[in-house]
């Protein structure tokens, strides 16, 4: 067993974990943050996307011990009060159906908009290439991210 210390959504955690425990299972089963989902086990679908030290990672492809000392943000930590503009945009544009890919999709969108506040449609499609949605056919998700860029632009100005 190893001791890990992590900060998740602004809160400090210290836990004993097996070296083989996946980060996603640590988040879901130990910390009970169940918004991070498992969809494929092979890093293809992106449902387990979280932020680790400010960068998006797939938490099913990392061990919990590798996150020792890191600062993590999961979907639950995206908005302290109410909804983040990306979350609002997903609702406005019907970018959710079953909701299972949504947390990962929203966080990938956030990663994009942090580095590119006004992305083109092609840039959006490339940015979410590592996230699979089985329901929507992506079009309303792309529209939601465009809309989110507008909403975030407005709130900055």
């Amino acid at each position: 067993m190893h001791t890990i210390r992590v900060k998740i959504n602004g809160k400090d955690y210290e836990d004993e974990v097996e070296p083989r425990l996946l980060l996603v299972h640590y988040l879901r089963d130990k910390v009970h943050l169940t918004g991070t989902h498992v969809g494929c086990d092979t890093g293809n679908c992106g449902a387990c996307t979280i932020f680790l030290n400010g960068k998006p990672v797939k938490s099913c492809n990392m061990l919990a011990v590798q996150a020792n000392g890191a600062e993590l943000t999961t979907i639950e930590g995206l908005a302290r009060d109410g909804l983040h503009p990306i979350q609002n945009a997903f609702l406005d544009k019907f970018a959710i159906q079953c909701g299972y890919c949504t947390p990962g999709m929203v966080l990938s969108a956030l990663a994009l908009l942090q580095s590119n506040p006004k992305p083109t449609e092609d840039e959006i499609r490339e940015a979410i290439e590592g996230n699979i949605c089985m329901c929507t056919g992506y079009q309303q998700i792309v529209d939601a991210i465009t809309h989110a860029a507008d909403l975030m632009g407005q709130s900055r100005s």
């Binding site: 969809g39 086990d41 639950e76 079953c98 909701g99 299972y100 089985m134 329901c135």
Partner: protein
């Protein structure tokens, strides 16, 4: 039937893109899927067969049982000894199968041993410690092998690998082919694929010692039937099983078949006296978590010179793998949609459901209709070229015309509404059909190969469940219906309980829109259960999320129950205000006099009378404001082979696709994708658009990317999303979607099927476009998927994809 205008008091929300606020939890990561439920669970998993066909020998579980943290182990033969076999629906030959392997294994991935351990990781260790002896048997993988004389039998007791073989003839088929000027025919092969919901199968089973009963949480798509199947298999009365379906991460039909796993989970839950959780891995899902059947379809059209189709013959051989419960279903649904959007008077369908050592099959989005429309629309394209007609023109000449509605097909399917020519004309204009045909020749000279493909598809909804049994006697289930409970609470707010479940279609929002407009309130005053619970939900054997039935029977039940509540509210208000009911109007959460607005009573005050001040209710009236209604679609016929209807609403769509084929790489790129969709009236266009586009992308996956591949030993080669490729955001077109509205006269709201259409129509549209693009190379498309490798080989050598 309740008139459309009698349903609504206001029209503020019906038909509008009302935001899915009820699903805000999903964007916050607060959904409540099975694996999210906070219970003190232990974990179950399965040792699965590495062989496609083998006799089961000794199973040694001692090492696994000795591992610290392992709580229970049960072998397939032990499970079989205490359970009833799986029931078959459509097949006519005897085939005995249990929920886990016993005696022999029939596919790679078949569950052989179930193990329960304290956590997911110990479980994986334990699964590795189970030793199973197998005596390999000859393997049958492909259809051609399964039908050979002396082929190894998958089910010995059946005496054949063909478990259903039936021929249905309607109309004068011999006459049609005799009178034909031209016969166009082709053999098509369609691969195994699946819609692979992002959340895999998930089950928690708990046994309660005190009552000797089970509680199961599962993402089951048809709980009304599953609860019967599970209790039958366990040999317990249904009142000993409570089934709860929380949020589900997509279904597409694939979650209709998880109930056999519930059976083995219940047995081990009984042993360990703790909730047992099983979360299927993606590998397990792709390996054995069910596929569409692969098939070989021979189709022939008999045509006059002017393009009029006189008759159609089909021979359908379907590889149903090795799951007797669903074998044969796809055959029957293909048959039911054999004439597509066309007025064809004679049909013959020879159908064979064939078992092999491939994985089980289950209803996947569209169920058979994608293949039926693919083959029919490929042949319509071919026929047009052969007769020197434009592919659009031949369709216009054969469509069932709007003035023919309701139209009965030769076998008895009733097309109640639709305007197929209008959809086609709209699509042609939107895609710029004439201009494209002109550009095509010019571009070819420059080495750019574009093609235009059309596909007209029927999109049926609300299955008449009796169709499964056309092959064998009285149906166990027939027709289709749903139940709803609607109540107005102390605050005058409304709560709805449906017997059905949802897989992400926004049912709560759609229901809140309709109820709000029936009661003149805002949708935020309407809540709906987000989970089905067999203890409290008003379910029927039909209850579930499948066959495009929500906006017909589910909404029907909600409307009828809401109407009962509304009638009672009006009676109480009339009594309270001392006026007649006819003088009353609903307005903003209150009932008031039409002539004197000062005379008004709020829903909250009415609820106070109904629940608390019951002595002030009209004489003889029951207290409370909770009503239950069950609603069935009335047009279902009792099935017989001469005249039966498989589906009860009929949407349709027209896909017009422009592709560019890179003849150097074999890659296919979309230049334009037009969809004209007719689902009658829409409850929420934002939801409808997502369904139409999402299902089209399922079709695109099937046409271009997805295939479950097997080697000659029956080993599946595609067990992760690395090998089994799904459509991604990159590479897809921007869909241009528009609608034609032909209200359905047989559903209360005029709504009809939404959600499967794209998965049905896209296959042929894209294949037709690819063949059109490759005309200079003489390449024909007869199989799916159309991969770059196959495109290149066809261009360079074979001329056939």
């Amino acid at each position: 039937m309740l008139n459309f205008d009698e349903i609504f008091v206001t029209r503020n929300y019906f038909g509008k893109p009302v935001r899915r606020n009820a699903d805000t939890r999903f964007v916050k990561g607060e959904g409540s899927y099975v694996d999210d439920l906070q219970m003190d669970c232990v974990y179950a998993g399965y040792v699965r067969s590495p062989h496609a066909h083998a006799r089961l020998g000794k199973i040694d579980t001692s090492k696994a049982e000795a591992l610290k943290g392992v709580l229970a182990v049960m072998t397939g033969p032990e499970v079989a000894a205490v359970t009833q076999p799986v029931g078959a629906r459509a097949i006519t030959r005897p085939a005995r199968q249990h929920v886990m392997a016993t005696g022999k294994v029939r596919y790679v991935g078949e569950p052989v041993v179930i193990v329960v351990a304290e956590d997911r990781y110990i479980l994986e260790d334990a699964l590795d410690l189970v030793e199973v002896e197998y005596e390999p048997l000859p393997v049958v993988v492909e259809l051609d092998d399964a039908m050979k004389e002396g082929a190894p039998l998958i089910f010995e007791e059946a005496g054949s690998n063909v478990l259903l073989h039936d021929t249905l003839t309607h109309g004068d088929i011999e006459g049609a082919f005799r009178q034909a000027d031209v016969v166009v025919k082709e053999q098509f092969r369609v691969q195994r694929y699946s819609s692979t919901p992002l959340e895999t199968w998930a089950i928690i089973a708990k046994h309660d010692k005190g009552t000797d009963s089970y509680v199961v949480w599962a993402n089951d798509q048809q709980p009304g039937r599953s609860i019967v199947n599970i209790s039958n298999a366990l040999g317990i009365p249904v009142n000993k099983l409570r089934l709860i379906v929380p949020d589900s991460g997509g279904g597409f039909g694939i979650k209709l078949a998880l109930w056999p796993y519930v059976v083995s989970q219940c047995l081990v839950a009984r042993k360990v006296n703790k909730p047992v959780k099983w979360i299927q891995t993606r590998r397990e899902h792709l390996l054995a978590g069910t596929h569409t059947p692969d098939c070989i379809v021979d189709l022939e059209l008999a045509l006059k010179k002017d393009g009029k189709v006189l008759g159609l013959r089909m021979k359908d051989r379907q590889n149903d793998g090795s799951f007797v419960h669903t074998a044969g279903i796809y055959n029957l649904i293909k048959f039911a949609n054999i004439v597509g959007c066309y007025d064809i008077k004679a049909t013959r369908a020879e159908m064979m459901s064939i078992v092999t050592n491939k994985a089980p099959t289950v209803q996947n989005r569209g169920v058979g209709k994608p293949v039926m429309i693919f083959t029919l629309e490929r042949l319509m394209h071919r026929a047009a070229l052969q007769l020197g007609l434009d592919p659009a023109e031949i369709r216009l000449r054969n469509f069932v015309q709007p003035e023919q509605m309701p139209h009965t097909t030769p076998s008895g399917e009733i097309y109640e509404s639709g305007n197929y020519p209008e959809c086609l004309r709209k699509a042609l204009s939107q895609v710029g059909y004439k201009e494209l045909k002109g550009q095509q020749a010019t571009l070819r000279k420059q080495g750019t190969y574009i093609g235009v493909g059309l596909s007209a598809s029927i999109e049926p909804g609300t299955s008449n469940l009796g169709y499964y049994y056309t092959s064998r006697g009285t149906p166990e289930y027939m027709g289709n219906a749903e139940g709803a409970i609607v109540s107005m609470d102390y605050d005058g707010n409304v709560n709805v309980l449906l017997g059905s479940v949802e897989e992400g279609q926004g049912h709560q929002t759609a229901v809140s829109q309709v109820v709000a407009d029936m009661l003149a309130i805002t949708p935020d005053r309407v809540t709906m259960n987000s989970q089905m619970d067999s203890l409290i939900s008003p379910f029927l054997g039909h209850s579930g999320c499948y066959a495009n039935r929500f906006n017909d029977v589910d909404m029907g039940a909600v409307i009828m129950a809401t109407k009962k509540v509304r009638d009672k509210v009006l009676k109480i208000a009339a009594h309270k205000l001392g006026v007649t009911e006819g003088e009353l109007r609903l307005r903003a959460g209150a009932v008031c006099s039409a002539t004197d607005e000062g005379k008004s009573v709020s829903f909250k005050d009415i609820a106070t009378l109904a629940y608390k001040q019951i002595l002030l209710l009209p004489a003889g009236m029951e207290p409370g404001l909770k009503e239950v209604a069950y609603y069935k679609n009335e047009i279902a016929k009792l099935p017989n082979k001469e005249n039966f209807n498989v589906q009860m609403t009929h949407g349709n769509s027209l896909h017009a696709v422009v592709v560019e084929v890179d003849v150097e790489t074999g890659m296919i790129r979309f230049r334009k994708y037009v969809i004209v969709h007719d689902c009658g009236r829409q409850i929420n266009p934002g939801i409808v658009d997502g369904m139409a586009i999402g299902s089209t992308v399922h079709g695109i996956g099937a046409v271009l990317l997805e295939e479950f591949l097997y080697d000659e030993n029956g080993q599946i080669l595609t067990t992760s999303f690395v090998d089994y490729m799904k459509p991604l955001a990159v590479g897809l077109p921007r869909f241009e979607l528009s609608h034609v509205e032909s209200p359905c006269p047989t559903s209360l709201l005029g709504t009809k099927a939404v959600g499967e259409g794209g998965a049905i129509g896209s296959l042929a549209a894209i294949a037709n476009a690819v063949e059109d693009a490759l005309t200079p190379f003489g390449v024909k498309v007869t199989s799916l998927p159309i991969t770059p490798e196959k495109v290149l080989r066809a261009i360079r050598e074979t001329k056939v994809i």
